[in-house]
């Protein structure tokens, strides 16, 4: 029983980068743009955040610069796919390759360095809250913020007029255009938002999660975020749960190994993927509903008046 709390806390910590990256990607995809460059944007965010943290020691400045850096990549991506209508998958893959190599390049002299994180004063305050404090106090404020992000994305998409417009642009860009909505601008904004969140996810990994920069740090988490959005059938709630499900299964398999549960470790390493796919497929096993959920114009370039 004493294992439950550490597992829960580790799960929340491990799931957080996926919450950021996947919710950002969800908004991007809801506007009809498929961004496969999340991994690359996370790498750039991670390295920029790390360098900023190394030189200034300012956590929030590091998060901001990571967001900006990833948004620069997202802007390049948008110019190519939204304005020039290049193939979204191809450009996205190129962004990942570019981001990964560019990240290694600028991070070269920082490899293996580590930053010493002072315990967050906010977390220390939170630990004083009765009951919840035991959990909250061990989590970085960036983890709490990811919950706010989830609430914000959900509220935005389903309870605001702007969210409705974003969804309309993803479903029927021509119609949205016909009634006067700026489809191109909306797609730009949504892609930039997705990029910014990928940047925060990267910053979280290099600063809060591991506190060091090294090549391979992101280790495919950007791809998992893209996959999560699909398996979650473009719904924020499922995306949010899916992120923790994946994080939880990863943590649980490590705990199971250390507890001496005798399954082959290779199989256990595959477990998070299997469990996440299985659960998300089960909850979305209604194929019609799933098809209805796909933003109808996802991946397709929009031509005004076309």
């Amino acid at each position: 029983m004493s294992q439950i709390l550490p597992i829960l806390i580790a799960t929340l910590i491990a799931g957080t980068p996926l919450v950021y990256a996947a919710l950002g990607e969800l908004v991007t995809e809801r506007s009809g743009v498929l961004n496969m460059g999340v991994e690359g944007m996370m790498v750039v965010g991670a390295v920029i955040a790390f360098i900023t943290m190394q030189t200034t020691g300012e956590l929030w400045l590091a998060v901001m610069t990571a967001m900006l850096a990833a948004m620069v990549l997202a802007l390049m991506f948008s110019v190519l796919v939204v304005s020039f209508r290049a193939h979204q998958v191809a450009v996205g893959l190129a962004m990942t390759i570019f981001g990964t190599s560019f990240g290694s390049f600028i991070g070269k002299s920082y490899v293996g360095m580590a930053i010493v994180m002072e315990p967050s004063t906010l977390s220390a305050l939170a630990s004083k809250i009765p009951l919840l404090g035991i959990v909250l106090g061990q989590l970085h404020p960036l983890v709490w913020l990811s919950w706010a992000l989830f609430a914000g994305v959900w509220f935005f998409l389903y309870r605001t007029r702007s969210g409705l417009i974003v969804r309309a642009v993803g479903e029927a860009p021509s119609s949205a255009h016909a009634i006067g909505y700026p489809v191109v601008l909306i797609r730009y904004l949504c892609t930039l938002f997705g990029g910014a969140m990928a940047g925060v996810a990267g910053a979280y990994i290099s600063i809060v999660y591991t506190s060091l920069w090294t090549e391979g740090l992101i280790a495919g988490r950007g791809w998992i975020a893209v996959a999560l959005v699909v398996f979650a059938t473009w719904r924020p709630g499922r995306c949010f749960l899916g992120a923790y499900l994946f994080g939880g299964a990863t943590i649980a398999q490590l705990f199971a190994q250390s507890a001496g549960i005798g399954l082959p470790s290779e199989l256990m390493s595959a477990l998070p993927y299997l469990v996440t796919i299985l659960v998300l497929v089960l909850i979305s096993r209604n194929a019609t509903l799933m098809r209805l959920n796909v933003p109808a114009s996802l991946g397709q370039p929009f031509v005004a008046g076309g």
Binding site: Q3, P6, I7, A10, I13, A14, S104, K108, V111, G112, M113, A114, V116, I205, Y209, T210, S211, L212, T214, E215, G216, L217, A219, R221, T250, I251, L254, F255, Q257, S258, A259, G260, G262, L263, P264, S265, E266, S269
Partner: protein, 366 residues
């Protein structure tokens, strides 16, 4: 880049067979500078595997000031690129060429016989081949000595190990770590968690958390970065700098460490090439003068008595009096693998695929 015609190829092939037949090698002119080429598959950075490889050629340069010129290429991740660059280095007149990882071994085994103008050495290869020498560290000797510190300092009698992949080099280190710990504290167990990744710092950190939650209070593993030590420090438990000294990062809780020192491999190979008596040899060295494993920093909190015990064991290993894998050793199922009075052969150690009794964790089943 030089264009290689078929005639050139035939010439090299003929020269190759000549060497194979007679053992005659091109000698260095008296005032010639020895050009040495090194291909790193990863970035050199400031800690970890490639860093120690780079330290070796740096040591080589300072051992022969003005006599040796090293061309080091780093971060050549693709093996195809390595092959092309090995050829290029040889064509440019590098007489001695080093590969830094096991991943380059198969390529070098294929390439070395075709380039008789150069001499090749590969770190962590299996066996020497035509025109190819190999050198590898007996890491288990370092692991055994650090195990003594772990066995003395643990309060829970649970040690933790974060493994990258279950390859023999990692397996024999885990086993030696436990044997070292048990030599001073028979009740110790080692819990193992496999990350199944060479580099995934986030997962390594989670693995540390899992081990600590299971009661481990001294951690070791196979890290290339300080993340495991930092994670352990955060949890307030000891960590061991395995294959690297991370005390620069892990300020308070790094108990002891050992690191890899390949300088003697580089220096002796270069010396042999200069003197014209280089032979493709296989060396497997551990602790001791000129060895590839070196005990380094220990925490000021490590009691004097324990440091002494470690030193005694180290000296005994160097003198050949203490054999790490001497019987009686049982495997996890309780089967006697090494009978009392016997010791494990070098080949059995090099190919070790079983965990000893007292290691808690699983291995891939064959």
């Amino acid at each position: 880049m030089k264009f290689q015609s078929r005639r050139d190829f035939l010439k090299t092939a003929a020269a190759g067979s000549l060497i194979a037949a007679t053992g005659v090698r091109p000698l260095l002119a008296a005032d010639e500078v020895l050009k040495v080429g090194v291909i790193h598959m990863g970035p050199i950075s400031d800690t970890g595997w490639e860093y120690f490889q780079a330290n070796a050629w740096r040591a080589l340069e300072s051992a022969f000031p003005g006599k040796v010129k090293v061309t080091a290429l780093e971060n050549i991740a693709q093996i195809q690129d390595c092959e092309r660059l090995f050829r290029q280095l040889s064509a440019q007149g590098h007489k001695l060429i080093f590969g830094t990882t096991f991943s380059q071994y198969a390529s070098l085994k294929k390439l070395a016989p075709t380039m008789p103008n150069s001499h090749f050495e590969c770190c962590a290869g299996i066996a020497a081949g035509t025109n190819l020498g190999v050198f590898e560290a007996r890491e288990y000797e370092g692991a055994y000595v650090t195990g003594i510190a772990a066995g003395r300092m643990t309060k829970s009698n649970v040690l933790g190990w974060v493994g990258a992949f279950p390859v023999p080099q990692v397996i024999y280190s885990i086993n030696a770590f436990l044997l070292g710990a048990r030599s001073v504290n028979p009740d110790v167990v080692v819990k193992v968690v496999w990350a199944n990744a060479w580099v995934d710092p986030a997962k390594e950190k989670d693995a540390v958390a899992a081990l600590v939650a299971q009661g481990a209070d001294v951690l070791s593993g196979s890290p290339n970065t300080p993340v495991q030590g930092l994670a352990a420090e955060e949890k307030g438990v000891w960590s061991i700098g395995n294959t690297g000294d991370f005390s620069r990062y892990v300020k308070k809780k790094q108990l002891v460490s050992y690191e890899l020192d390949w300088s003697s491999a580089h220096i002796s190979a270069a010396k042999a090439v200069m003197e014209g008596n280089w032979k493709p040899e296989s060396s497997w060295l551990g602790l001791g003068e000129g060895g590839y494993v070196k005990m380094t920093t220990s925490s000021p909190e490590l009691p004097e008595t324990v440091a002494k015990e470690m030193k005694v064991a180290e000296d005994a290993i160097v003198a050949g009096k203490l054999k790490v894998f001497a019987g009686e050793i049982k495997d996890q199922s309780g089967k006697v693998k090494v009978a009392s009075g016997q010791e494990l052969s070098e080949n059995d150690i090099k190919g070790m695929t079983w965990l000893i009794d007292g290691v808690q964790g699983t291995l891939p089943q064959n």
